[in-house]
């Protein structure tokens, strides 16, 4: 919970991690990739305020206590959504798996939502694991990283035939929210790996699923915006947009926010800190204080008020995940409830999974 100027904000961190990227977890023979990956993440941290930077050693492997303090005690987060990233070709136990997240989270009831993941290249076996994960962890969302390397393949598209089997399984298993994260590789490598056209297709074919495009489609914000504006079940995950730009490039941040507010709208934008790349504290504080610079350059963008910030920081994600929000944090008159029409007004039976 965050409070400023008498307004109370319920904070759902829609995108965060509990990883082990230390050398003890590197796959022999793939050390350069494991090292390259975490160093790349660490460079992103460099775009946040200097006083929030960590050493690479701390960044590679932080403790449960670190996470609980940074995210909940200092970071104002009420509920955090784990987004697993496996990368088992590079990290022996995986970078951060559903299991690792849940084993830690079960010691803190009510604090976490355990999203799982799938990869269409894992075939029937992967479908079995997906079912097990939903049963064990109550997952209502999944995180897809399309650039993951898997047995010589450097990536996949949501429109691949194998992917449709998994999306159908998601519907059947009650997974509502599909978080999509694009990366630098795909098959074939001559195509643009960051292209979001496949999300457009599956969003149309699976109208009952919500597709949250993580990092607002970066580096294809433009393509993402045109796509999202046409698909009622496509959302913008703000992880990285806030972390990489709000401090380091405030004017670009304002422009990006303006574009998102125009094309996507405040009802369909979700805060995510991307912890441990960045701590939530400065992001929440800065976002609540944020406004467009006083300049004609920004005059024709939709404004973002307190109600909109409340939605983006937590209420939208709470709607998508059926997280109970105490009355004192709900919007008073004036604000629209936000988020998905299908879910709005239909409280989910389950509270936070793992609670």
């Amino acid at each position: 919970m965050y409070e400023k100027n008498g307004e109370k904000y319920f904070v759902v961190d829609g995108h965060m991690h509990y990883w082990n990227a230390a050398p003890d977890n590197w796959v022999p023979g793939a050390e350069q990739y494991a090292k390259g990956w975490i160093e790349c993440f660490h460079a992103y941290m460099g775009l946040g305020p200097p006083e929030t930077h960590w050493t690479i050693e701390h960044f590679q492997k932080y403790s449960e206590d670190d996470l609980m303090k940074d995210v909940f005690e200092d970071g104002y987060v009420d509920v955090a959504i784990f987004q697993p990233t496996y990368l088992k070709e590079w990290y022996k136990e995986g970078f951060n798996t559903t299991e690792r997240n849940a084993l830690m989270g079960e010691r803190h009831p009510g604090k976490f939502v355990y999203n799982t993941r799938w990869d269409p290249r894992d075939g029937d076996e992967g479908l079995k694991v997906l079912r097990q994960n939903v049963e064990r962890f109550g997952s209502k969302g999944c995180k897809l990283y399309t650039a993951e390397w898997n047995n010589g393949s450097r990536g996949w598209k949501l429109t691949d035939p194998g992917s449709y089997r998994y999306l159908e399984a998601c519907q059947e298993l009650g997974i509502k929210n599909v978080h999509v994260h694009k990366g630098p590789t795909i098959w074939p490598l001559d195509k643009d790996a960051f292209d979001v056209a496949d999300v457009d297709h599956v969003a149309t074919d699976f109208p009952d699923l919500n597709f949250i495009v993580e990092h607002v489609g970066l580096p294809r914000i433009d393509d993402f915006c045109y796509m999202a504006t046409q698909e009622p079940n496509v959302y913008a995950g703000l992880a990285v947009a806030i972390g990489a730009l709000m401090h380091a490039r405030p004017r670009f941040f304002a422009r990006v926010m303006g574009e998102l507010l125009f094309w996507v709208g405040e009802d369909k934008m979700l805060f995510g800190s991307d912890y441990a790349i960045w701590e939530p504290k400065w992001q929440v504080e800065g976002f609540v204080d944020w406004d467009f610079p006083d300049s004609d350059d920004f005059a024709d963008y939709p404004r973002l008020g307190v109600a909109g910030k409340k939605k983006i920081l937590g209420l939208n994600a709470a709607n998508l995940y059926g997280i109970d929000v105490p009355a004192e944090y709900q919007l008073k008159d004036g604000g629209t409830p936000g988020a998905h029409e299908v879910l709005a007004g239909q409280p989910e039976e389950h509270a936070v999974s793992g609670a």
């Binding site: 630098p184 580096p219 422009r255």
Partner: protein
């Protein structure tokens, strides 16, 4: 063998790394050859960011020998930058430097990248992308390059139209205008150049607003959406550029080789190299320990 090298460190004599300076005074021909090689590199762009690799800081060093051997070392903001765009930059740098009169042998080395060996070897062997990534790619990168040139045309449209609108031209007046009606500016030159690269009309009589996929003039109800998209495309590219610069700075302490005329003093609005480094400083450079 004598070599003359310019690196961010050894070339620190001038603000942009130029003019080059070395402990041993190089011959005139070496210096002019190096200058020519650097000028050639200024014409190589990052296709995603639509900016020269020199102003982006991607050129780590450039070396020429008296015998006409050139070696260029490139670096990127991350270990995992997309391999297709990385390949284009290495291949374009190779072609640009090879074409410099007096350069007899060219080597371009991409450093610190997961696919560096494949890319460096493939470019040196002039193998093309599909053969370099045998089994992982089905075609060359022409389509990818064209897609991003079309984005550059959209972004350039915003750069050219925004000042016109600010000066009082109404949006309804834009579709009647030709490129020749627009006052000269670096942004206009750049827009013409990108359109010409795509084979789109770029002369004085060509319409200002066209669909970059078809070349057809934009008119009527399509105008507001076209202008909005142009702006969104520009902002997307510029935001990426801002992030890439910050990442590169975190990764490498040195600024890289830059042409002397373009220093750090870029502005967030207008200007050729534009926009890409905002007037607000990048404050991500310093590092604190914890």
């Amino acid at each position: 063998m004598t070599r003359h090298t310019t690196t961010p460190e050894s070339g620190a004599g001038g603000p942009g790394g130029l003019p080059p300076r070395a402990s041993r005074a190089p011959g005139d021909s070496e210096v002019s050859l190096l200058s020519a090689a650097l000028a050639a590199l200024e014409a190589v762009r990052d296709p995603e960011l639509d900016e020269p690799i020199t102003t982006l800081g991607f050129v780590a060093s450039c070396t020429v020998s008296a015998a006409g051997g050139a070696e260029v070392r490139l670096r990127l903001p991350t270990y995992f930058c997309a391999p297709n765009f990385a390949f284009l930059m290495v291949a374009d740098a190779y072609d640009a430097v090879s074409a410099v009169p007096g350069v007899r042998k060219t080597e371009v080395v991409l450093e610190d990248h997961f696919a560096a060996d494949a890319i460096n070897g493939g470019v040196a062997a002039r193998a093309g992308f599909a053969r370099t990534f045998d089994g992982e790619a089905v075609g060359e990168l022409h389509d990818l390059r064209a897609d991003f040139l079309r984005k550059a045309v959209m972004a350039g449209t915003d750069q050219v139209c925004r000042p016109l609108l600010a000066a009082g031209t109404s949006p309804a007046g834009l579709p009647g205008m030709t490129l020749g009606d627009v006052p000269p500016s670096p942004a206009l030159d750049r827009l013409r150049q990108r359109r010409a690269e795509l084979g789109l009309p770029s002369g004085d009589g060509a319409p200002l607003l066209i669909d970059p996929a078809t070349g057809v003039r934009i008119s009527g109800e399509a105008i507001p959406l076209h202008l909005r998209r142009a702006r969104t495309t520009r902002i997307s590219i510029e935001a990426n550029g801002g992030i890439c610069r910050g990442m590169l700075r975190h990764r490498y302490d040195s600024a890289g080789l830059k042409p002397a005329v373009l220093g750090e003093e870029e502005n967030s609005e207008g200007g050729p190299a534009a926009c890409l480094s905002s007037a607000t400083s990048d404050r991500g450079g310093a590092r604190a320990e914890r």
